[in-house]
Symmetry: C2
Subunit: 170 residues, 2 copies
């Protein structure tokens, strides 16, 4: 492997990336918490599909409604009104919020528009923001295509890959 972004080969299954993430977390005695909006728990589901996930996985928040983002993740009202629930700022605040509430080493957040409704010219359906909070922060914007299921699935895949990249080569 020549670099962080090569840590996961393209086409790896979400389960294999999740297993790699958990292995890296375990090897550094680090913990993980998730904050999910449009994926509604799918990321947590994939992570906990791996036996022994409990060693490193704290849990997290399914922040589907904006009130959940405000109340459980301390997302600022300004992020939601000025930037919107689907924005890089909200994703970053969700990731930071879940680290703060959980005390986990790493937090990963997903917010996006899975459709079929809700898209705008500026933010069409398929716009997804992922943010990582921890020893190395990351945030990235994705423009995903396909139906609701495909967009949500790709959002989970991208979040796991970004987290795996942030965790580095261990």
């Amino acid at each position: 492997m020549t670099g962080e972004s090569a840590a996961v080969s393209p086409g790896s299954s979400p389960q294999s990336v999740a297993a790699d993430v958990l292995r890296k977390l375990r090897s550094t005695s680090a913990t993980l918490a998730v904050a999910e909006s449009c994926t509604g728990g799918w990321l947590g589901k994939v992570i906990t599909s791996i036996p022994g996930a409990s060693v490193s996985f704290w849990g997290g928040v399914i922040a589907y409604d904006n009130e959940a983002k405000l109340k459980l993740l301390s997302v600022s009202p300004g992020a939601l009104t000025a930037d919107g629930a689907v924005s890089e700022r909200t994703a970053r605040e969700m990731a930071l919020g879940v680290v703060e509430v959980s005390g986990a080493t790493w937090g990963v957040a997903i917010t996006g528009l899975a459709g079929p409704d809700g898209g705008t010219a500026n933010k069409p359906v398929g716009t997804v923001y992922v943010a990582i909070s921890g020893p190395r922060d990351r945030s990235r914007t994705y423009h995903l295509s396909g139906d609701r299921r495909m967009i949500r699935r790709q959002a989970v895949d991208r979040a796991l890959e970004l987290l795996d990249e942030a965790l580095g080569t261990q």
Copy 2:
């Protein structure tokens, strides 16, 4: 349909039960929050696979670690130490806790042993507790069989069916 428990025919897909649950919630302007331990977000994932889920679905807590149960769901330390994380009492407290933190009309909680490790003579792998908190409380114990994936999937199915039953014929 002759009764509440006949609201869902055996073999219905989780998605179709989730759609039925969301239709009933919408028709009564009720909202739902989830608290998931062993399923790790799978229940939320299935509910949010239905377009328009945001009308009724608040979100919830992935309470995988006991600390998440204590901190985000206000589960009592006594429930965890005396009865255990996998117990009817903990399931009930998780359901009540997610209703309290969310203000949702209904809360549904799942805690169980998905394996492959962690089973005991009293509580073998496959023991799952589901609790509903809301206008009509429910709690039930399941003894599920199969591998980790099958146990988790059945736990999600049973939780949706119990919720559908609690919501009644609407």
